[in-house]
Every structure is written in structure tokens, then in C-alpha cells.
């Protein structure tokens, strides 16, 4: 009888707890919708503390983690909430989204291939434990990205195809097709890659991925398939002549926007609505310019300027000739007088990777390429900086050149070089990711005169040349 009374008393209490937890959770939601983030997070933390057994506890933990990761960009603060979901709420439906987010954050933090293992494990847990969850398409997609980052092209392709084959209605499906096409292209199946890009445009024409597919299609076809003779379109933007102040460096950001370093102004500019807008800090005599997610970085002969403020020296370097950020966040720097590549890890540790001294450096999807005037070779390297192929200057051209003035690449692995000297003379060459010549022309043949110091590949299958003598940009197509 006593036991019975105890049970009878417990049930209403539990029901009251659940009711209270729901009210508290909803209150947090209202606060969040009103953008009172602190109040919302506090309220959800109360749910976790006061009703840890309620269904609203894992939901609260997930909401807090999402906010910390996405809005505050505070992965470290988000992770304990996700750990708790994994430890205490794995049997709840919200665990799928928790594991997915945990995997995504682990993947973001990964600095080398091995670091991805935990992330991959989380994504696989989503597939295994929650096969009907709405988190599954994104988990498959993330598995594809992880495989792509580690160079497992076929594996990546499989995951991406599974994403859009098994979840054609999911929001990530068009993006999975784009990434599958990248894997196909990297595997050497250009036609397959093009067909898949067109498929994105056919099945999801209004998606952002369709725009991405559009420029990829145009660029791949123009450079790789048609390999049309290079022609001069004229100054770019059209009609803009003598509008810059000694432009010397170009770079393109993740969305294809152009960055221009103007030497007379010691400043990088982003081209917005065909007008230059200053970005980042001031650095005289910049030798390299790269676009990063946090803005442009400028390099002098021996230092780096990230954003505003003062440049930081890069020890041991005195003739910086090129740089790029790899997919793990490592900064790779080449020096024209130093026979190795300098790699600066995200946490600041520096190491040297043996190589010739390079006059220019550019990233490729599965590695990088450096131009060595000393050896007159283009050196194609893997993601670890190991040379995989050396291409003598002028191979595949009617005549050799002696120097590489500038290198640029795009996310598809198309490589453009401004070259000079030799019988080929001053001109431009476009290579595929394996080093095969796709398109080439001497400036003389093009009727161009100027001093061309940098090049960028645009997203319409053309090239932008930086002409410091005429204070202008020239578009080739």
C-alpha cells in the first residue's frame, strides 16, 4: 500500500515536471525569436538543470550548441553540450542532429586527415543509428566532403551520389551533385563532371548550387574542353582605363570576387559593383595577396598582414613569392631565395617542406604547384608538398619561356601562368591540374603591351591580367 501511494504521488509530479520543462523550453524559444540570445540560452540551461530527464533537455542542449557554433563561432563552448547529448540522450530523436553537428565541428577543427576520423565516426553514427532522420542527407554529404579532403575521390563520389540519389528532395542534394562533379573531374572524368553540373541546373535551377554549377560548367568547358584560342576582350570592367593606381597583385575570393592590390596605395581592394573598395590594412610593396575566409592577407618580402594592424614577420623568409591557405587551415608560403616551402599551422607552428625555391605558388584541389625559374620547371605537388611531377618550362608550347611572373588557379584546378623570356616571350599559358597545356598566347600575338604582373581566372572561362603600367585590368577569354 505504501509503495502504491508512492507511485501514485510520483506520477503527477513527473507530469508536472514535463509540463514545466515544456513551458521553460518554449519560453527560451520566444526569447530566441526576439533575439534575446542570452536570455534564451539561460532559459534552456535551466531546462537542462531542472528537468534533465525531460524530452526538452536534449532539445535545449541542441539549441544552445547550435547557437554557440553558428552565431558565436565558439566551437569549444558548443562541444560540451553536444558531448552531453551523445552521452545522455543518444536514444532520443534529437541525438541525430546533435551527432551531426558534433561531426561538423570536429571536421572544422581537423588539421590533418587523421583528425577527421572522429568526425567521420559521428557521421556514420547518424546513418547507423538514425537511418530515418532528417540529418541523414547532410551526414552523407559530410562523409563525402571528408573523403574529398583526404583525396579519396571515388569514396567521396560514392557518398555524394548516395546523398542525391537517396535524398533527391533534400536541400543538400544539389550541392552534393556539384561536389560529385568535382570528384569526377579530379578522377579524370570531365564529361561525367560536366553532365552532373548540368543536371544540377536541370533539377534545381533556382538553387545556389545551380549558380555554382553554372560557372563551373562554363569554366571547365572553356578551358578544358574547347581550349579555344585566347582572345582579348579589352579592359575590364569594360571601358575602365587608367582607373587604378599601379595594380600589381590579383586574387579571387571564395565567391569569385576579385581582389586587387594597388601598389601606389599600399592597399588591397575588393571590386564591388565595378568599383574598388579598400579591404584589410596597409602594407607597402606587397609581394603576394591571398583571399581567406577572414579577408585578404598581404605578404611583403618577409612578413604577413592579416586584416588590419601591423604585419607579422615570417621567420627565415626574405623574398616571399607566393602563398595560399590549404583545406586544413595551413598557410603555405614560397620564397624565391629559399629552397623550401614554409608551412604555418593554424596554431602558429612553422615547418619547412623541402622544395626548389619557387618564384610563384598556387593551390590545386589535390595539392599545389610551384614555378621554379632556377630549374625552369613547374613542380606539381601533392597536399603534403611532395613533388609528383615536374614540367619543364615550355613543355607543350611551341617554344620555351624562361620565367614565371605569376601563377593563379581556380577551385577547379585550372592554372594560369604569366610567363616571360625565351622564344615564347611574354605571354599567358593555361594548364590543367595535371600540367597539360590547355590554352596559350604571347602578348605580342595578342597585341597587348603593358607590364603584366598578376593574373586571375574568372568564373566565365576568362583570365584577368593586371597591367601596372597602364593602371588597368585586361580580360582575355
Amino acid at each position: 500500500l505504501v509503495l502504491g501511494l508512492a507511485v501514485a504521488a510520483t506520477i503527477p509530479v513527473m507530469a508536472q515536471d514535463a509540463d514545466f520543462a515544456e513551458k521553460l523550453f518554449r519560453s527560451g524559444e520566444r526569447a530566441y525569436q526576439a533575439k534575446s540570445y542570452k536570455e534564451a540560452l539561460d532559459t534552456w540551461n535551466q531546462v537542462l538543470a531542472s528537468a534533465p530527464r525531460s524530452d526538452y533537455a536534449p532539445q535545449a542542449a541542441l539549441r544552445i550548441a547550435r547557437h554557440l557554433a553558428a552565431v558565436d563561432s565558439n566551437t569549444a563552448a558548443a562541444m560540451p553540450y553536444l558531448d552531453r547529448i551523445k552521452a545522455d540522450y543518444l536514444r532520443t530523436p534529437w541525438a541525430a542532429q546533435g551527432l551531426l553537428l558534433r561531426g561538423q565541428l570536429l571536421a572544422q577543427q581537423a588539421r590533418k586527415a587523421e583528425d577527421l576520423k572522429d568526425a567521420v565516426a559521428e557521421f556514420n553514427r547518424v546513418l547507423d543509428l538514425f537511418p530515418d532522420s532528417t540529418a541523414v542527407p547532410e551526414a552523407r554529404y559530410q562523409l563525402g566532403l571528408a573523403a574529398l579532403r583526404t583525396g579519396q575521390l571515388n569514396k567521396a563520389l560514392g557518398h555524394f551520389v548516395d546523398t542525391f540519389r537517396a535524398h533527391p528532395d533534400s536541400a543538400i542534394a544539389p550541392e552534393a551533385m556539384v561536389q560529385a562533379s568535382a570528384a569526377l573531374d579530379a578522377s579524370g572524368d570531365l564529361e561525367g563532371a560536366l553532365r552532373l553540373l548540368q543536371r544540377v541546373r536541370n533539377v534545381a535551377p533556382a538553387s545556389p548550387a545551380a549558380d555554382e554549377a553554372g560557372w563551373r560548367l562554363t569554366t571547365l568547358v572553356r578551358h578544358r574542353l574547347l581550349k579555344a584560342p585566347i582572345k582579348v576582350e579589352g579592359t575590364w570592367p569594360a571601358g575602365k582605363a587608367k582607373w587604378l593606381h599601379t595594380p600589381t597583385l590579383l586574387a579571387t575570393d571564395a565567391s569569385g570576387g576579385l581582389l586587387i592590390y594597388q601598389s601606389d596605395l599600399n592597399q588591397a581592394f575588393a571590386l564591388r559593383a565595378n568599383e574598388p573598395a579598400p579591404v584589410g590594412g596597409s602594407l607597402p610593396s606587397a609581394k603576394a595577396l591571398i583571399a581567406t575566409p577572414s579577408g585578404p592577407w598581404l605578404f611583403s618580402k618577409n612578413s604577413i598582414l592579416k586584416g588590419e594592424g601591423a604585419p607579422a614577420p615570417l621567420a627565415g623568409l626574405n623574398a616571399i613569392s607566393g602563398a595560399f591557405l590549404d583545406g586544413w587551415g595551413n598557410l603555405w608560403v614560397s620564397d624565391a631565395k629559399t629552397p623550401n616551402l614554409t608551412v604555418v599551422a593554424p596554431e602558429g607552428a612553422t615547418r619547412a617542406v623541402a622544395s626548389p625555391s619557387f618564384n610563384a605558388l598556387a593551390p590545386l584541389p589535390q595539392g599545389m604547384v610551384g614555378a621554379s625559374d632556377d630549374t625552369r620547371t613547374l613542380v606539381f605537388m601533392d597536399a603534403d608538398g611532395k613533388a609528383r611531377r615536374s614540367l619543364p618550362y615550355g613543355q607543350g608550347l611551341p617554344a620555351p619561356f624562361k620565367e614565371v611572373v605569376a601563377l593563379a588557379s581556380d577551385p577547379l584546378g585550372n592554372l594560369a601562368a604569366i610567363v616571360d623570356g625565351g622564344d615564347f616571350g611574354e605571354g599567358v599559358v593555361v594548364y590543367d591540374p595535371q600540367g597539360a597545356v590547355l590554352r596559350q598566347a604571347s602578348f605580342k600575338a595578342l597585341g597587348l603591351s603593358g607590364r603584366f604582373t598578376s593574373v586571375a581566372l574568372d568564373r566565365r572561362g576568362g583570365l584577368i591580367l593586371c597591367d601596372r603600367r597602364n593602371d588597368a585590368l585586361i580580360r582575355l577569354y
Binding site: 571515388n154 563520389l157 572524368d189 553554372g214
Partner: protein
Amino acid sequence: MIRRLLPAAAFLPALLGAQDASVKDAFEAGKNLWASAGDREGATAKFEQVAAALQAKGPAATAPERQMLCQAYNWLAVLDDRSAATKPRVAQRFQALLDLNPDFDLDRDISSARLVAAYESQRTTRFGLARFTLDPLDGVLLIDGQPAKGAGTHWLAQGAHRVAYSRPGHGSQEQSLELGAKGAAVTFKLARLSTVLRLQITPPGAEVFLDGASQGKATAQGPDASSATFFVDGVKPGAHTLELRSPCFRTKTVSVPASLVEPVGDKDLEPFKLEPSQGTLTLATPVEADLLLDGEPKGKAPVSNLSVCAGTHDLELRFPAGGYTKRVEIQEGKALSLTAKPRPRLAYLGMETGDDFSGRIRMGEVMQAFGPRLTQVAFLAPKAGEAAQAAQDRLKAAKAAELFLSLRPVGDPASPQIEFTLSTVEGETEHFIARPFEQDPLAALVAKLNALPPTSEPGVGLTLVDVEGEPGPLLLSADPEALKAGLQVQKAITSMAGKPVASVADARKALEGATEKIAVAQGAVTATLPVRPQPLELPMVSEAYAYPALLAQLRLRLLGAKGDEAGLARLDLALGLMHFRKYDQALETLREAKLAAPRGISQGTVEYYTALCFQRLGPAYANEASAAFQRALRYPSATLLSSDGPLVAPLAKQALEELKP
């Protein structure tokens, strides 16, 4: 006496021509027995036999049969009168005869004067003779509401009668008649009131309209092809329009001038012949089905050039499994061809019984209109009072439905949601949630049930891509047929079907409108290419569809399917089963799937999915999965999803790598 009877015997066969053969034979036998052998008993027996047979027919007896029955009574009276033992029966014979037809007069060739006098005496005790004088003569005389022959005499039961007389174009008159043994005279004289149009129509049965108002149908008259004379009564002065309408015939419109209507009188129109109005219906079906038009059986389908009356008809096909209904319009002289495939029958089992919930009445109302909104399934309404489970058991046992739908409230009883459960006979089930008081609680479910994924898209063997700066979609690759026709890869297509195309989207639109061939131009070069359907895979997961309904559709699609059609149906069915994680059944289905196409969705696709199913069944089937992936590699041009989808080969290769121990 016997000789006196012979002429009458010679006359009777004509009278009996329409009679039942055995009755007629008995009648003849009776006469012969008496006339040739003088066998009174034998003859009496035969006529008794005739009388018994015809009496049994009662009111259903025809006029000749009634006449023959009267003759039989006449004979029986004559024969009974010849023997003292049977003479008392004569009065009964007369009584029966008078009950049957008091206007019947005894045949004086076989009846003696004494017998005739006795008959007349008996007649006048019950009946009186009414003499009718009619003007005009060709009207309709009704005695006590029953039609009677026209002018002249009528023996009627003594007492009160109501008599009426009418004739088109004239008024009608009615009189009371008090009839005694002495008889009475009745005179009707009708006045002319309006014009009557008289017409005959071939064939009979047409409905006659005067100025849009129906005047009735022209009935048949005997075996003649034309109708009996039809009277259009009460035609007022002035011009009129007659319309003669008959199903399966062209409507005839006749202008009646005022000059024909006046002066009033009976106006005979030329006989009208309606021209047939028919079309033909050709039905292709994957398997034999019972064909019904407007609910009437019309034989079996498939059928070619079935003559059907012009107009709108409700077409129904009853397949061994599944059904098909469609409203069709048959146009005169035109042929309508349809390919009809069986559609799943969805049985709505009604709301599960239980406590009342908020919204029950509302859901009951909206479900009333559910069936007509469904276009891809044949809807079966619930039987009143039948429980859901009982209905499902009954329909399953009778194989009368492929899909079942039930609904029940879930959640808070005060504000419940409605859970629809849709399941196949085989048990694949999905649930859908609706709210009873939303604008249209059935909208999402109806959309899913009406949605069918495309099974193919038109193709011409060209792979096109959009490239900025090109005048049209760039030709990436092409079938040999297109190359032979002059098209070149890496050049833009500039027009299709004579219209400029600026993008792949334009080209796809042009293809959608093409039928068998399409002109494809690259600048000055134009190639005419055949348009062929390119198979598309069933999407394995999509919010747009109700997968139990898709599975039911696919199972019916297999009926009668052959070659690649059957192979593709099996592939899609397997994908549908994979949606429900029924990998074992999917494997069984894929085992039977054979595709001859060398590229695109082809046998390599089938092998790839076979391997995936083995993989899903677990590590114990790794060898089988590897073997299937190996087979998939034999088809380097096989794709997933569609002909422009990803190639199977690299995926199979990767999967094989992962399966390596």
C-alpha cells in the same frame, strides 16, 4: 358436321403461326381428331391442353393467343354439346369465353344455331351492347381508362362506365355510360382546335422537340424500320422548329413555316431519316479486361475500332487486378485510341471506431469529397456500418483492392491531429498527418496520391550543357546517329523544332513538345532525329509521393509488360521496396529484371542496385555484393537516376574497394 368443320381447320394454322409450337400442334391435333376420326374425347383432351397452356399465361398472353384461347373454348363448347354427359359443361365454356372476351362471336361454321342462341342468351345476361359513333374516326377511345377499338359495337359489362374520346388537334370528351341488357348508343363529335404535325422517323425511338420542348419519343411499329406516325399536337400558328434527337444519330433540325401550320389541320411531313453519328474506340490494355461503357458491358479489351455512339461516355475497364475509369468524348466519324493501364483500387475503410473527437464531423464531411479528387487510383467508398478491419479482410479475401486507407485521431483528444494510414495489400505502410480544421485537410494526401513520378523523359541522344557566351546549349556528346546526321560535338545547338534555343532548359521544353522526330540545328546544319523515351529511376525517397500507392502502381505496371518495359518496372518496383527496406524482396524483383539497353538506365544499373541490396542484408552477403558490383562494371555506360546521371562504374569500383577484406 365433320365436313363442315374442315374449312375452318384449314384457316387456323395461319392464326396460330405465332403461337408456341406445342400449343399450336395440340390445337391442330384436336381439330384433326374430331374432323377425320370423330374422336370427341381425344379432341376434347387436346383443346383442354391448349386452354390450360394459354390460361396459364394470364395477362401476358398476346392478342393472337387470346384469340386462340377463345377458339379453343368455342371448340370445347361444341364438343361438350355433343354428349349428354358433357353438355352441362357448355355453360362453363361460354362463361370462360365471355370472361376472356365478350366481343367474341361463336364460329357459326362449327357451332350449331342452338348453341349460338345459348351463347347469345348467356352473353346478354351479363353484357350490354354499346354502339359508338365517333367523329373524327381516328381518335383514341378509352373505356374505363382502357384503350378500346374505335367506332362500332362493344359488348361491355352491364352497369356504369366512363368513356372518353380524344384525337390530336382536337379537344377530348368524356361521358358516363349506364349500360343495361338492351344496350346503348354513344356519340362523340370532337371540334378541331389546332394543327397537328404528323411524321415518321427512321429509326424509331427518336425524341421529338418542338421549339426546344420535348413532345415525346417516336415509338416503333412492328418490324418496320420507321416509327409509328408521331403526332405533334397543339401546334400554334406561326413558324416553328422541330428537332429530332436520337442517341448515336445526328440531330435533325426541321424548320416548320407558318404557312404549313395555317390553316389548322393535320399536316403530314416527309418521312425523316436520321443519319448515324458514331465514332470508333480502340483500347490497348496490357492484359485482357472487361469493358463497360456507361455501365453497360461491351465485351473485352483490348479492342480495335469498336463502334461507339458519338458523345460523352463513362469508360470502365475491369482488370484481373486494378481498375480503370475515364470519361471519354467520342466524336462523330473520329477514332479515339487509348492505352489503358490498370490503376490501383484504393479502399477507404472509414474512420476507426472509438471515442468521439473534435473534428470528427468535419473529417466525415471532407472525406465525402475524397474519391472524386483522386486521379491515379480507383476509389472504393466504405460500406455503411462495416468496421474497418472487417472491410479490409473482406476486400483482401476478394482481391478487390490494392490499397487501404484508414484514419484515426492522434494526440490531444480536444485538438487532435488526424493520422491517415495508407497500406498496400502486401503490407507496405505510410502514415500522413493532417489537422481537421485546416483549410483543406486532404490537400497534401490528395497531392501525394495523384503524383506519379515520370518514368521517362524524351531524348534524342544528345548531351547538352549550358556554357555562358555560347549562342545555345553546347553539344557535349552525341549518339552516332546524330553525328552521322551532321551534328558536331563542342558546337552549340541553335534551334530545335524550328525555334531558337538559348539554353538546355529551352531544349528540354522543345523536346517535351516533340512526338516522333525533331529537327535539331547547329547554325546552317539541321538534323532530324528520332525522339525516344529515356528511362528515369523511381526516386527512392521523396516527399512528393505516397510510396504504398507507387508500389501498387508498379505491381500493376508489371501486368502484361514485356522486354525493357517489364525490366524497368521491376527496377522501379525494387527501388520502391528498398524505400521500405525490404531488401530481400527487392532482390527477388531485381533477379527478374532484364534490360537490353546498352547505356543509361540499363542492366548495369540493375546489377548495382542488386549489389546495394546484398550490402544492406549484411556482411554475410559480401561475396554476393562483390559479384553484383563486378557484373555492374561490365556496363561502362550504365548510369543511375537517368541517362545523364552519374556512371555506375566508378561507384561500383569504389564499392568493390571497400568490400575488399
